[in-house]
C-alpha cells in the first residue's frame, strides 16, 4: 500500500530514510514518449502547452516517481554558438559544430552565448513545458531535468572524436577552459529551469562513459566541473542526479564521495556499486534498455526487476530504473513491469 507521495518517497530515498516501497523512475524518457505519440522532440515542444499534459499523462501511465522536463541536450547552445541542428530528427541531431579546434573557444563570450541561447525558441518552450508541468502536478512529485553535463556539452562544441584527441594531445589549460565555458552555460540553463519548477538537477555525462575515458580523466576534468554546477546551485536546488553511461564501476566511489545525491548507473554490478557507494549517495538503475527492456518479455522484465529490488532492499537508497535513456522501441508493458515490481517491493 502506498503511504507516501512520490516526492516523499524520492526525498526519503535520497536521504537514506524509510520508504513505503522502492521508488521507480526513468532517465529522461522524453524521446520515448514523443516517438510513441508520433512526434519529434521539437514537435512535442510545439504543442500548445509545450507537451506538458502529454508528458504528465505518459509518466503517470508508466508509473514513475519522478517526472522529467528540460531537453537534456545541447541544441540551444549549439545554435547560439553558430552551429546547426536538425530539429526534425527524433532527438534533434547536430549537423554542424561551432568549433574546429579547441582553442576556438577563446573567440566566444560566454555571457553573449548565454544571452543568445535564451532567445532560442525551443529554449523558451522548454521553460514553458516545465512551468506547465509543475502547475499540473503541484508539489507532490519531483521534476528532474537539465542539459548534458559540462564535459559532454564541451564535447558537443567540437565533436566527440576531436574532443577525445584533445584530452590526450591538447593543452590541459585548453580542455579546462572549454569545460568551464560549458559549465557556465549549464548553470545558466539550470537556474532558469529551477525558477520554473525544477527540483532535481540531472547531469548526464555520456561522454565521460567508462567505455570512452579512463577514471583519471573523469577525476581530472569531469568531476570538478560537475561539482562546480552543484555548488553554484546548492542553495536553490540541493538534489543532484549524475548519470554516466557504460562501464562506471570504477567511478562509483568517486561520485559518492563527491556528495551527489544520486548516481544513475548503466549495467554494472549493483551490489559492488552499493558497497563502493557506502551509503553516501543513492543509486539509480540499472536494467539495460537494449538487452533487457527492448529484448525481453514483460514477465521477464518483472522478474529481473523484482530480483534487483530484493537485492538492493538491504542497502536502502535505491531507485529502480533503466540503466540509460529509453529507446523508442521499448514496449510500454515492459516499463510498467518495472513499476509494478517496485510498487510491490514493500520495505520493512
Amino acid at each position: 500500500m502506498e503511504t507516501m507521495t512520490p516526492k516523499e518517497r524520492i526525498k526519503n530515498t535520497l536521504s537514506g530514510k524509510e520508504v513505503d516501497h522502492i521508488p521507480f523512475a526513468v532517465l529522461n524518457g522524453q524521446s520515448w514518449i514523443a516517438a510513441r505519440n508520433g512526434l519529434t522532440m521539437s514537435g512535442l515542444l510545439d504543442l500548445p502547452d509545450a507537451g506538458a499534459q502529454l508528458l504528465v499523462d505518459a509518466y503517470r501511465e508508466l508509473g514513475t516517481d519522478i517526472l522529467t522536463s528540460g531537453c537534456s541536450a545541447a541544441w540551444p547552445m549549439i545554435s547560439a554558438m553558430g552551429g546547426s541542428v536538425d530539429m526534425n530528427a527524433l532527438s534533434a541531431e547536430i549537423v554542424s559544430r561551432p568549433l574546429d579546434t579547441i582553442d576556438g573557444i577563446a573567440g566566444y563570450d560566454v555571457t553573449k552565448v548565454i544571452s543568445d541561447m535564451k532567445k532560442y525558441h525551443y529554449y523558451q518552450r522548454t521553460l514553458d513545458q516545465l512551468r506547465n508541468m509543475r502547475s499540473l502536478v503541484g508539489d507532490r512529485i519531483m521534476i528532474g531535468g537539465g542539459f548534458f553535463g559540462p564535459f559532454t556539452m564541451a564535447a558537443q562544441m567540437l565533436g566527440v572524436e576531436q574532443f577525445m584527441i584533445e584530452l590526450i594531445d591538447g593543452e590541459e589549460e585548453d580542455v579546462r577552459r572549454i569545460v568551464d565555458f560549458a559549465a557556465e552555460i549549464v548553470i545558466a540553463y539550470l537556474e532558469d529551469l529551477i525558477e520554473n519548477g525544477l527540483d532535481l538537477i540531472t547531469i548526464p555525462e555520456p561522454v565521460a562513459s567508462g567505455d570512452l575515458i579512463k577514471p583519471d580523466l573523469y577525476e581530472q576534468f569531469v568531476l570538478p566541473a560537475d561539482l562546480k554546477v552543484r555548488e553554484r546551485l546548492a542553495d536553490k536546488c540541493p538534489d543532484v542526479l549524475v548519470h554516466i553511461c557504460g562501464r562506471t564501476d570504477r567511478l562509483v566511489a568517486a561520485v559518492a564521495a563527491a556528495g551527489f545525491s544520486v548516481f544513475s548507473v548503466d549495467s554494472i554490478d549493483m551490489v559492488k556499486a552499493q558497497n563502493d557507494a557506502g551509503g553516501r549517495c543513492a543509486l539509480f538503475g540499472n536494467l539495460s534498455p537494449a538487452l533487457v527492456l527492448a529484448a525481453k518479455s514483460s514477465d521477464e522484465v518483472y522478474e529481473i526487476s523484482k530480483a534487483l529490488c530484493e537485492q538492493m532492499k538491504p542497502f536502502g537508497r535505491f531507485i529502480l530504473a533503466p540503466g540509460c535513456d529509453l529507446a523508442p522501441n521499448i514496449p510500454l508493458e515492459n516499463i510498467q513491469a518495472m513499476a509494478r515490481a517496485a510498487h510491490e517491493s514493500q520495505t520493512d
Partner: protein, 212 residues
C-alpha cells in the same frame, strides 16, 4: 631492429610527428617498407589494440595512436605499392541506415587498418544496398556494420538479406557490432560474427580474410 621498435613504441604513445620522422629515417636507412609496416606500425597498433581490449587504455589513447599510424602509413604508401606489398584483404565498414554515430565505427576502422587490412569507409547512415554494392564492386571479403541505437539494429538484418538477394552471401562475411548488440542478435539475423570491442572485431575480420 632498433628503429622499428622505436616506431612501434612512439606509435603506442600517439606521437605522430616522431613516428612520421622515424618512418622516413628507416626508409632512408634502406629498411624495406614492408618491414617498417609490419614490425613498426602494425606491431605498435596491435599492442594498442590488446591494451584497449584489456581496458588498460581507452578511446583517446587509441585515437592518437591511430593518427600516428596513419601519418606513418602515408609516408610508406608509395613504397609499399612499388614493392608490390598488398593488404591482407579488403573490408567495407559503415554505420547502418538511420544511425549517425561513428565513434565505434571509426575505432573499428583504425583497428582493421592496424591489422594490415584495406578498409572502405562508407561513413554513417549507410543503406543495405550500399554495403552490398560496395562489397561487389570493391571485392570486399567482409562487411562490417555498426549501430549504436536499438532502433537501427534491425537494419543489419536487412544487410544480410540484401547480400542474399544479390547472390554474394557465400562470398562475403557479415560482421556486426555496437553498444546494444549481442551474440544472440547476431545469430537471429544470420550475420557471421558479433564482437564486443574494436580490437576483437579486427582480429575476427583478419581471420575471415585469411580464410579466403
Amino acid at each position: 631492429m632498433e628503429i622499428l621498435k622505436e616506431i612501434s613504441g612512439y606509435l603506442q604513445q600517439g606521437r605522430a610527428k616522431i613516428v612520421k620522422e622515424l618512418v622516413q629515417q628507416a626508409l632512408d636507412q634502406g629498411v624495406p617498407a614492408e618491414d617498417i609496416l609490419r614490425e613498426g606500425l602494425l606491431d605498435g597498433m596491435n599492442i594498442v589494440g590488446e591494451k584497449f581490449k584489456n581496458n588498460e587504455i581507452f578511446v583517446p589513447e587509441v585515437l592518437v595512436a591511430a593518427r600516428a599510424m596513419n601519418m606513418g602509413a602515408q609516408i610508406l604508401k608509395p613504397h609499399l605499392a612499388a614493392a608490390g606489398v598488398e593488404a591482407h584483404g579488403k573490408v567495407c565498414i559503415g554505420t547502418v541506415k538511420g544511425d549517425l554515430h561513428d565513434i565505434g565505427k571509426n575505432l573499428v576502422k583504425m583497428m582493421l587498418e592496424g591489422k594490415g587490412l584495406e578498409v572502405v569507409d562508407l561513413g554513417t547512415d549507410v543503406s543495405p544496398e550500399t554495403f552490398v554494392q560496395t562489397a561487389i564492386e570493391q571485392n570486399c571479403r567482409v562487411i562490417c556494420c555498426s549501430a549504436l541505437l536499438t532502433t537501427t539494429m534491425p537494419v543489419m538484418g536487412d544487410v544480410v538479406k540484401a547480400a542474399e538477394a544479390a547472390g554474394i552471401r557465400d562470398k562475403v562475411k557479415i560482421m556486426v557490432g555496437g553498444a546494444p548488440l549481442t551474440e544472440e542478435f547476431c545469430r537471429q539475423i544470420g550475420a557471421d560474427a558479433y564482437t564486443p570491442d574494436a580490437a576483437s572485431a579486427a582480429d575476427k575480420a583478419l581471420e575471415f580474410c585469411m580464410e579466403a
